[in-house]
Amino acid sequence: MNALAPSRLTRWIVGILVGAFFAIPLISTFLYTLRDDKKGGYSLVHWAALFDPASASMIKPIWTGLGNSLVLSVVTVVIVLVLLAPTMILVHLRFPKLRQYFEFLALLPISIPAIVLVVGLSPIYLQIARMMGTGTWTLAFAYGITVLPFAYRAIQASIDAADLRTLAEAARTLGANWFSVVVKVLAPNIRQGLLAASLISVAVVLGEFTIASLLNRQVFQTAMVVVRNQDPYLPAIFTLLALLLVFVLLLIIGRAARGTRKARS
């Protein structure tokens, strides 16, 4: 037992006070979605509206936004897996001296607020719209930067835990070309990091609002703001579902990270 650990009483007091502060808004939001404003009292009427054709036109922006966000998640994950991960492997194997500069670069987006980035992104996206159209998927280029610090940390932890150098050497000695070395030998050995990076990218993209809203693209979060003006209950329902989904994603990531740590020790 940790000698620094607080007494059971202290632990319970802090747990209950802070727990209440965090539980009340979530429970209230749930009760709010159950409120029956026609008959009074509580009912599942707003949850039923999710599948009711009569309110389909009202929810439509949310489904459209969610669809766009899912496409964006896929493209962002592709950027992470095809652009970031191979570059990190290359830096690790061939340019170890660049690592600290690379790390600084990868963590830089933490210090640059999205609201600042969007000021500079808007002229760039004017050009992109001219070249590739105004499709929502192009936002993924900006999102690749937003997820960079999260994805970098997840993948780097995995790279540090696996001995890529020896694996690459062995595979090269046996005659594999670099493409199969990376895809068939190295990637499977850092799969937990790649999985965590992908899941966290999905979570970031699903929750992103700033860039999408100021560049006038319709995504999940902007759609919820639009729908809220007509029906405040639907966004509350989607809020709970989305928070729950991201919570589960992060639980999975946590397990994957612990697996890596365990394999290491």
């Binding site: 640059i112 600042v116 980035l117 001995d163 966004p235 928070l243």
Partner: protein, 307 residues
């Protein structure tokens, strides 16, 4: 992977690997080429937007260099939004840091692989980093005009929390939602520092006749102080640059800097100036940049206790 293999990797990390050395020299230029796609991407979508955002503050709409946009930063209206942003960030950072540190303390000694720690870690991640607009919705459902708690207080106790006006849609309304994402961020950033406190120090202190109180006053707090300060700065920068929650709560007006940037981006002229967004972005990046630079300085100092 075994420990022996990992240790070998660390040892060889600094020296060039003999077996690869031959091919490395021959294909060094090709290897450099491999870095270019990512470099181009970062240049185009991180460096360029940042330069454009800051640079646009120095140019008029026709492209001529000017200092006049920058003088907007001394405009009383702009100064007031910066002051608003600063006090909201400071207040929520202090509240979040103290509450978050208490949560970390309460979790000391719990099994890091246990269900409670895993759930708290995941929940902290959700609320600290991905909440945004959704936290605003949760608080509107709770203490909005028709919120569950608002109605409960009114019906059961006759208390009208909006007797003084609709503060939830103004700057004071930001405080609770902001604390709601600041506490989890504190848990994420401060827990490693607290977990690195060695139980042996407490035992040594006890062996030498120290009390629990003397341990915290003489050892615990001094060792943790840099980490706490660093986390506090990170929380301040986090609140200062946060946009989504405020934008969803406050649909009209621009009481804090991010909302003023919104106004400058969505309408042509604010305060009778063009390119105000650039000047505001510059002001913001100066504040956040300084705070984050001090953060990483202190963090580096604090890291030596976490080895």
């Amino acid at each position: 992977m075994t420990t022996a293999v990992t240790a070998g990797a660390d040892a060889s990390a600094s020296a060039p690997v003999p077996a690869l050395a031959g091919t490395a020299r021959r294909s060094a230029s090709w290897a450099w080429l491999g870095l270019t796609p990512f470099a181009a991407y970062v240049l185009l979508f991180l460096a360029l937007p940042t330069v454009l955002a800051i640079g646009s503050g120095f140019f008029t709409k026709t492209g001529a260099f000017t200092w006049s946009n920058l003088s907007a930063l001394t405009d009383p209206v702009v100064l007031e939004t910066f002051a608003n942003s600063a006090w909201v960030s400071l207040l929520t950072a202090v509240a979040g840091a103290v509450a978050g540190a208490l949560v970390c303390y309460a979790m000391l000694g719990l099994n890091p692989e246990g269900a409670i720690r895993q759930s708290v870690d995941a929940a902290s991640g959700v609320l600290a980093q991905f909440g945004g607009v959704m936290l605003a919705f949760a608080f509107i459902s709770t203490i909005g005009i028709q919120g569950v708690i608002t109605v409960l207080l009114k019906d059961a106790f006759g208390i009208n929390i909006f007797a003084e006006g609709n503060w939830i849609y103004e700057v004071p309304g930001l405080l609770l939602p902001y604390i709601y994402f600041q506490v989890p961020l504190m848990v994420i950033t401060f827990m490693p520092a607290l977990a690195a406190l060695k139980p042996q120090w407490a035992e040594a202190n006890a062996t030498l006749g120290g009390t629990r109180r003397s341990f915290w006053m003489q050892i615990g707090f001094p060792v943790l102080a840099p980490s706490f300060l660093a986390s506090l700065l990170l929380l301040f920068a986090n609140a200062f640059s946060s946009y989504a929650t405020a934008a969803a709560l406050i649909s009209q007006g621009s009481q804090i800097v991010p909302l003023q940037i919104r106004a400058a981006l969505t309408s042509e002229t604010v305060l009778g100036r063009e390119n105000l967004a650039g000047a505001l972005a510059l002001g913001m990046i100066i504040v956040v940049g300084i705070v984050m630079a001090v953060y990483s300085l202190i963090q580096r100092r604090a890291a030596r206790w976490q080895a």
